[in-house]
Amino acid sequence: MEKEQKNTKKMTGSHAVIQSLLAEGVDLIFGYPGGAIMPVYDALYDYHDKLHHVLTRHEQGAVHAAQGYARVTGKVGVSIVTSGPGATNAVTGIADAMIDSTPLVVISGQVGSSLLGTDAFQEIDVVGITQPITKWNFQIKSAQEIPGALARAFYIARSGRPGPVLIDITKDAQSSTLDFAYTPVTKIRSYTPVNAPDESQILKAAQLINEAKKPLILVGQGVILGGAENELKTFAEKTGIPAAWTLLGLSALPSDHPLNVGMLGMHGNYGPNVLTNEADLLIAIGMRFDDRVTGNTKAYGVNAKFIHMELDPAEINKIIKVDAPILGNVKETLPLLTAKVIKNNHAEWRNEFKKYDVVEAERIINEELKPSKDGITMGEVINKISTAYNDDAICITDVGQHQMMASRYFKFKQTRSIVTSGGLGTMGFGLPAAIGAKMGRPDRPVVLFVGDGGFQMTIQELGTIFQTEIDVKIVLLNNNFLGMVRQWQELFFDKRYASTELINPDFQTIAKGYGLHVEKVTNRSSLDESIGRMIKSKGAYLLEVIVEKEGNVFPMVPAGASVSDVRLE
């Protein structure tokens, strides 16, 4: 490598950590201090005007908050934790970020290098623990390694298919001195973030598209991660191909776009699921054929050829053998394909989706949104709130029934407007993720939908809201059940409700204790007004809605069934 003239500056490792973060443009981090990371926290004290630190109430919250921040901004989320339990508490968030391709840099403190491997106080092999759940991880044992390792960490986290990186720094590396100079990494010889597409596959794909009578686009998060929303729209509009989306592909295409035909998968819409097996061509764009999308893969896309546009070569042919794989960032590859396809309309085929929409509305949606029964449904609350925000809020969800209801009934105008735990399905994700999302996009309203189960998994983060005075609207859809598990027990386990009923505390009192505005709705007649008050309020708000105890999410593709066997009841 060429010798560069570097202006180095002598400083401690902990200052080098902060300087490296600043050099990467980081101005917000989420964390929790402890023994082995104290030198870094001490350095933070000198930088409070440049680098804002949010003290969460648990390390899991710190990582989920960083995820929420990363998902709405597209930037790398950063969290910082101590060794031992600090690091193990971060594990769930790191795993969540791994499976949902969220760019994160997690910095963990570690015991002094002389104590490594001695079972020292709060020593844990966090590099070993996080190997299967990080895109890359590294342990720093000397101060001089800090800028180089962090530069690599940010590059790997954000480039190619994004993911979490963990950097473990021994306490002595934090406190000893180095000659600091920061050079951002733009290339690593063993790492190919983006592969070039094969021209012949693009031609083959174009031909498949031009010949298809019943093509369907499957939109995944790759479109959002690649910033390819406009390229997707141009491609879909030219070809006239209907587009359905995965949970994480939600908001890539506006909800009211005429080609948007709804959600795929287990609780997706009726038409896209049934018609997946009538389609003669499935065009997967930045999605990975998750089992929640495909159901039984042997009975998936049975009449279809497959085009797979994907950044990660390891995803090609992993679940579905495809006819035309197109490697690369879809932002670059979609225009190449668009240029080679003929203008089309597919009016008749698109009309098929409308027929199923009518059935789904009659059998499910109408009753969910305008119930004939007294009990309030999750769907109607979500729908009313979406409308009250003019379909333009950032929607955060936890995991469970309300999550599926939110993805079905919340509407979107802008991309990066939903933050939800997809691959890992992490209960407790929502509240801290909402905090991070609001901090990433203070200009937009952020509304969290959470169940009474998941709320209590990270409820301590109300303390973070209290301390930071962040304006997060929390809609607690309380049915006194672990609703999704109860639904499965009802449908598949003879209604044997084993350990799914929750005897809950008074959430109003708890939230009041944390300084939130609170309101509880038990009756439909006061719902609209309460929603109005929440939206007009300044500051954090808990709107608790007592919803029907045994409501179910439909349609549903039972686990292991074919998508075309989607159940309406």
Binding site: Q131, K135, W136, R189, Y191, A314
Partner: protein, 179 residues
């Protein structure tokens, strides 16, 4: 899909922890590694993993892709036995009196094995070849009262006529050699 024996070769940076990152790709899929050998290569700082696994082709392809996906792995590829020249090395420890009494010289000559060490009370014999070869010799030496036996993991070289440097330079980022 039918199971077969495959050899996966991966070239990587020489970094701590990478061995574990590679092996967990196999353990997560409940694949038993038959043998694994890590060694340096003719290029400084580049290491070579040779992993032998019995699995279906479908699984081998997926596992190889996952290995290549690791940021510290330069290149990973899978081979069937016909694509490669491969060897294992075996060592046999035998009591010296048995070796003398039973004419070990003839066995060494016949099986192309070597005597690599002679001590007061035992000798050590070395044999390289395929598993079947070293196993055959094991059977032959059994009456000699084998005290200890050890066999290495497989090492292999592909039959393509390419230098490693050329091979690696054909990677998508071909500024590789400059570093």
């Amino acid at each position: 899909m039918e199971k077969e024996l495959y050899t996966i070769t991966a070239f990587s940076e020489n970094h701590i922890g990478l061995l574990n990152r590679i092996t967990i790709i196999f353990t997560r899929r409940h694949l038993n590694i038959e043998s694994l050998t890590v060694s340096s290569t003719e290029m400084k700082g580049i290491h070579r993993f040779t992993i032998v696994v019995e699995a279906s082709l479908d699984l081998i392809e997926r596992v190889t892709n996952q290995i290549e996906k690791l940021p510290e792995v330069l290149r990973a590829a899978w081979y069937v036995n016909d694509d490669i020249v491969y060897r294992e090395i075996a060592l046999y420890k035998i009591p010296i009196n048995y070796a003398i009494d039973r004419n070990i010289e003839q066995v060494l000559r016949e099986y192309n094995a070597r005597l690599v060490d002679i001590q007061n009370d035992f000798v050590i014999i070395e044999k390289t070849g395929h598993v079947e070869d070293t196993e055959k010799l094991y059977d032959v030496l059994k009456p000699y009262k084998i005290l200890q036996f050890v066999r290495s993991g497989r090492i292999s070289i592909s039959k393509h006529k390419k230098e490693l440097a050329t091979y690696l330079s054909e990677l998508p980022i071909n500024e590789y050699i400059k570093e």
